[in-house]
């Protein structure tokens, strides 16, 4: 597959200055003001570019360069404000920032129809970006108010940087605390933020006619090879979905979920008691009760199957037992193992940051589900990018739930990338080598 012309580059080293993190929003005020001015200019330039592109099928070089700089600057500002990067960004949108994007050097020819309908075509991507990094907003830049004899009216400028999306906001909120206390950012949060901003860059580049390529929401395509994947989490997803969707079951998905909803509720009542009992067992013994652990694990796996079905991350109707290996989007869970008693004792509080990220990803999951519903109905397939985003969301939510349900004491990893085994140590050669 042809690589997306908008590529993310991450060279951030995770080191943060406590003071600059603490005052980040205030420090960013000049950047915001400049971005606002630039956005107003971009609004008019983009309209001009749109008219030209309808006739000439591509943007003029000057406008293309201007918009590329704008997109790059948005990435820098988002990166700085959301604590995905540390250095103060310049005001020119020049390449070389620790979170950057490469954009097409020259404007490419585009389909007139796609240019003409760009706003409509971009709406699904804009919806997803609201759940991730934010992109287009219509009321954040300022307004001109006037009044007439008939009453008052107002006109608001559209800007292309309508504030952060849900995931980016969660990342900023948590990274602020992490940065202030540890003078570092968590790699998982940084990667999640980079992914969200990368998607914003894709959406902006598409919307502003910098490229005709549709935004790509596949986390692996966005970050793969640019950041190190996290270590394998004991709770991870095995994805064997073939992207095929049945139109009929897609249409009735919500209703087909009802029996599972009832069963989830009934089983969930028992699980609530089981978690409570297991909490005491873990506190006293340090290891969970095997039967309770298995019972809760089954439930969690079942919930993952069911929500994958409901939210169109997978196609087949799931079973009612949460049997491992029984569903194309499956959950691998650890066996009962010793857990840290402190982490067990304070689990209810420790889980709060993860819950914040989980809520943001729930939002993303629901947005993609709505879009997937329409796509599935018309094409009988799920787009791969949206599917992968869905898998990322259900994986994180499952890790969060497993932590909350005391199935593991390993904290959820917010990285959009699936965990990978570290590369094997180079094997010692048989013959000792001597450096002379």
């Amino acid at each position: 597959m042809e690589p997306h012309p908008v590529q993310l580059a991450v060279t951030d080293d995770l080191v943060r200055g406590r003071a600059t993190v603490f005052f980040r929003i205030i420090l960013a005020i000049p950047v915001f003001v400049w971005l606002l001015i630039w956005s107003i200019g971009t609004f008019f330039v983009a309209i001009a570019g749109w008219f030209v592109a309808i006739f000439t099928k591509k943007l003029p070089d000057g406008i293309h360069g201007f918009l590329c700089r704008y997109v790059r600057y948005v990435v820098h500002v988002h990166g700085y404000v959301a604590l995905v990067t540390e250095p103060y960004p310049g005001f020119g949108g020049k390449p070389g920032y620790p979170l950057d994007v490469t954009l097409p050097d020259a404007p490419a020819e585009q389909s007139r129809a796609r240019v003409f309908f760009r706003f409509v075509l971009a709406l699904p991507a804009i919806a997803i970006s609201q759940a991730l990094g934010g992109s287009i907003g219509f009321n954040t830049s300022g307004s001109f108010n006037g009044s007439s004899s008939g009453g008052s009216h107002s006109f608001r400028f559209a800007t292309f940087t309508g504030g952060g999306g849900a995931l980016l906001f969660a990342v900023f909120f948590l990274a602020w605390f992490v940065g202030v206390f540890r003078a570092r950012n968590s790699k998982g949060l940084r990667d999640a933020g980079a992914y969200a901003i990368g998607y914003t860059a894709h959406v902006l580049a598409y919307f502003l006619l910098v490229t005709e390529h549709y935004p790509l929401s596949d986390p692996a395509a966005m970050l793969g090879g640019r950041v190190e994947p996290p270590p394998v989490h004991p709770v991870h997803v095995v994805d064997n979905d073939d992207l095929r969707r049945s139109r009929l079951t897609v249409f009735f998905r919500l209703l087909l979920f009802i029996p599972h909803y009832v069963w989830l509720g009934l089983w969930g009542i028992a699980v609530a008691f089981s978690i409570f009992a297991n909490w005491f067992v873990l506190l006293f013994r340090g290891t969970p009760a095997g039967s309770l652990h298995r019972f809760n694990s089954r439930y969690l796996r079942y919930a993952l199957h069911v929500y994958s079905f409901l939210l169109l991350v997978a196609n087949p109707f799931p079973g009612f037992t949460g049997l491992p290996g029984s569903y194309p989007v499956d959950l691998v869970l650890p066996d009962p193992a010793r857990q840290n008693r402190w982490k067990t004792g304070f689990r209810l509080f420790l889980v709060i940051p993860a819950a914040i990220v989980a809520i943001a990803l729930y939002f993303a999951l629901y947005v993609t589900a709505v879009l997937n519903w329409f796509v599935g109905l018309f094409r009988a397939r799920s787009p791969e990018g949206m599917h992968k985003l869905g898998v990322y969301a259900v994986r994180y939510i499952a890790q969060y739930a497993a932590y909350y349900y005391l199935i593991t004491d390993v904290y959820p990893n917010a990285s959009p990338l699936e965990g990978a085994e570290p590369p094997p140590e180079p094997e010692p050669t048989a013959e000792p080598q001597y450096a002379w």
Binding site: S246, T249, F252, L255, I258, P259, V262, F317, G319
Partner: protein, 403 residues
């Protein structure tokens, strides 16, 4: 050779037991067996315009029912043949897959019947009988389908679970379970409605007098808000034991009916409770459930038995066909009980004039045909016709004069 006569004898004995039970249940009515309903000329009670309007409305509704039923049958026939293909959309075990197939079957029928449903609503709106918006109606139906799915999944879960466990004998515990479920629903139904107390103190006082007259323990009378959806007046007796209550639609107490007419309605509903009609309905259900589920077991054998998901589409078709075949009998039973409740109302209120006036009003407020065609009567009428109800009021007048 020795098994067949024994089996035939057993089947015959069970059939006789069924007939005797049905006969005994039927015979519990207090309507005098010797009661002769006089012939009623509907033109004496209704204007030609009223009769024309009711006939027009009824004919279209009946045709719509026929078309919708035919479509339902066609869909289920096609589904019985090809529905098994949807098994590939399931990652569940046999029971879960069976549930999916059941739900998809119902969903397809819902889709196929939707145009008729909307047409029916249009027809009712056109005649001022419904105030429901199309979107609200379709949405409500959509959610109702969700409710059906729950019931369907429970039913299939039970039937398939027993079938996988007990083989061909599954029908006995399954039928018993369904009867238990019907009893539970009969008990719970009143609690599922959103109602408020009857505020009319005078009417509430009359209810107490009627309860005493019919020998019924105090039963709450509540009002259900339906006027935003329908203009049709109605009332029903619901519940078992502590959940018993009489539900009046607010379209009945909106001033269109006089106090005397409302008294007849209340006496009729209390009559249902006095004659234990809800319990009898459950008993009738039991009488139908056992042979019905037995036939289902026999029919689904050709697809490997009810324990296999492949049997579900066929089972749905069989269920619908059995339901259609049983419809005339079920309507007859319902009419029998409604007639008894009418008789109780006449016996309690001693007011055949109010009853006659009430039934006449039904023609203008519900556009019920006073004397529908025979097939309509057999297949669609679960109450006596308006003409029969007026005739009963007349018959009661003569009967009470004699006794």
């Amino acid at each position: 050779m020795t098994r067949s006569p024994a089996r035939a004898a057993l089947v015959a004995a069970l059939a006789v037991a069924w007939i005797v039970s049905a006969y005994l249940l039927w015979q519990t009515s207090v309507v005098p067996g010797s009661l002769h309903l006089p012939h009623i000329d509907v033109h004496d009670y209704f204007s030609a315009a009223q009769l024309r309007e009711a006939a027009r409305f009824g004919q279209f509704s009946s045709r719509l029912w026929i078309a919708s039923t035919v479509v339902e049958l066609v869909v289920f026939v096609l589904y019985a043949k090809w529905g098994v293909r949807f098994m590939r959309e399931s990652a569940a075990g046999p029971v879960g897959t069976g549930m999916l197939l059941g739900m998809i079957g119902f969903a397809l029928v819902w889709l196929a019947e939707l145009p008729f449903d909307v047409l029916g609503l249009w027809w009712e709106r056109r005649h001022g009988l419904s105030h429901e918006g199309y979107f609200t109606h379709v949405t409500a139906n959509w959610f109702a389908l969700g409710g059906q799915f729950i019931f369907l999944c429970v039913a299939l879960g039970v039937a398939m679970g027993f079938a996988r466990w007990l083989g061909d004998w599954w029908w006995i515990p399954a039928a018993a379970f369904f009867v238990g479920l019907a009893t539970l629903f009969a008990f719970v139904d009143p609690y599922l409605l959103s109602t408020h107390k009857l505020h009319d103190a005078e009417l509430a006082g009359q209810v107490r007098a009627l309860e005493r007259a019919e020998g019924v323990r105090h039963v709450p009378v509540v009002v259900q808000h339906v006027h935003t959806v329908t203009a049709v007046p109605n009332a029903e007796a619901m519940g078992l034991g502590p959940s018993r209550r009489i539900v009046l639609w607010d379209t009945l107490v909106d001033g269109r009916f006089s106090e005397r007419e409302l008294r007849v309605v209340l006496a009729h509903e209390i009559g249902h409770l006095a004659r234990h009609h809800i319990r009898k309905e459950v008993a009738w259900y039991a009488l139908f459930a056992f042979p019905g589920v037995y036939f289902l077991m026999r029919i689904t054998r050709r697809r490997g038995g009810m324990g296999e998901p492949e049997a579900v589409p066929l089972a749905l078709l069989a269920l619908v066909v059995l339901g259609l075949l049983a419809l005339p009998l079920q309507n007859a039973i319902s009419r029998h009980m409604e007639a008894e409740a009418d008789w109780m109302a006449l016996r309690t209120t001693h007011d055949p004039a109010a009853a006659t006036q009430l039934f006449r009003q039904f023609v203008t407020t519900t556009l019920d045909e006073p004397s529908p065609s025979t097939w309509d009567y057999v297949l669609l009428e679960n109450h006596p016709t308006i003409a029969q109800r007026i005739a009963m009021a007349q018959a009661w007048r003569s009967w009470s004069a004699r006794h």
